[in-house]
Amino acid sequence: MTRKKVKLAYITNDSARKATFKKRKKGLMKKVSELSTLCGIDACAILYSPYDSQPEVWPSPLGVQRVLAHFKKMPEMEQSKKMVNQESFLRQRIAKGNEQLKKQRKDNREKEITQVMYQSLTGKGLQNLNIVDLNDLGWMIDQNLKDIHKRIESLNKEAQSQAAAAAAAAAGQLIKTGGKVQEEKPAFDSMDAIQRQQWFVDLVNPNEQMGFAGDDMMLPFGDNNHNALWPNGFFP
């Protein structure tokens, strides 16, 4: 069965229309049946076509009458609250489509600006950006700075609490063995805060290249490029 995209318009070719009608009618009745079974609910369908003087129904003429009787017993307001026809239904779908479109465009724009940001960090100039792009770029940079700041803070906190916990454990160990402990790790207390952090980070990221050599840093740009990620004076 081919999956061609069908144009949403009346099929003018008679035989094509009749063939489509037969297939889709069958599929539709099947879907009503499935809905009823899976969810354990009452449902009915009535279909009038130019191909048949009698309406095609699901589940059966009697079944339809039963469901309609139930329907008519409900207050008018309840009946019409969720009632739609082609026009209202299509309007609903258009509205939903527009919402999704708006969201997708927004997401795409964020992705696009993020790419611009990454590229700008390699030294690519800002001349090609218009004022709207620049404003969005500024916003994205701020968002990232916020997240980085949060992350740095949380890493610092972790390092501190780990340090405290390890120091307590080491102290406990010392007391237990009467002071003679084979310390494999350097004593925490003697480290200063930055060293401690670094040590902790090394522990946590054993595979991270600590040095600045290798293929990590690679982006060529000249001295006068102030956006560059690897300014010349940086290496210790």
Binding site: C39, I41, L68, L90, Y118, N130, G138, I152, L229
Partner: protein, 213 residues
């Protein structure tokens, strides 16, 4: 590298009442929506008239009808053939024209949505490519302490440069004449908005073919 699956994809469903109540409501919602969509398409494509009435698990009733639910129900229950007045026909003709327009609008929106989705996928691919090439494209959770600090400094720097560029453009926009000196016969070189950066919105990544570097 294993792909992370967001959902399980299409699974075969057993044709019996669903056991999980939570799933039941969701299933009803989705399937009812799909059912009405199919009914709507059938009416458009084949010019048929239809009414569908369904009761939700929460005892609410949903119905779809073309031309309208009530007329179809009445027609079925009374078994009277439809009156065929010219007024009615005119009314129906207007309604059909409306529906045609709405279908066109819907088609347009859905097409645009598909285009944007594809664009989104392409952008995701670009992001993956960047991540393979530059460490600063990785998510913040994955970066080491040192790299975070580095990145912070670079971004702060970039922010300053962006602000400078914005100022530059604002000045150029308000004073075009100062940037375009007149030639020898006194005519002013025309102001080119492209040059000042007020060009098309979409950023050209400039490396051709969407490559990053």
């Amino acid at each position: 590298m294993a792909t992370v699956r967001k959902s399980k994809g299409r699974q075969r469903v057993e044709m019996a009442k669903m056991t999980k109540e939570s799933n039941l409501q969701v299933t009803f919602s989705k399937r009812r929506s799909g059912l009405f969509k199919k009914a709507s398409e059938l009416c458009t494509l084949c010019g048929v008239e239809i009414a569908i009435v369904v009761f939700s698990p929460g005892k609410k009733v949903y119905s779809f009808g073309h031309p309208c639910v009530e007329s179809i129900i009445d027609r079925f229950l009374t078994r009277n053939p439809l009156p065929n007045s010219s007024a009615l026909q005119l009314f129906e003709a207007h309604r059909s024209a409306n529906v045609r327009d709405l279908n066109l609008q819907l088609t347009q929106v859905l097409n645009q949505l598909e285009i944007e989705k594809k664009r989104g996928e392409a952008l995701t691919q670009m992001k993956k490519a960047s991540q393979a090439q530059c460490w600063w494209a990785a998510s913040i959770e994955e970066l080491s302490f040192e790299r975070l600090e580095l990145l912070k400094v670079s971004l702060e720097n970039l922010k300053k440069n962006v602000a400078l560029q914005v100022d530059k453009l604002m000045i150029e926009a308000s004073n075009p004449a100062t940037f375009f000196p007149s030639n020898s016969v006194g005519a002013v070189v025309p102001y080119d908005s492209q040059v000042a950066g007020f060009g098309p919105r979409s950023y050209d990544f400039g490396y051709g073919g969407g490559r990053l570097f």
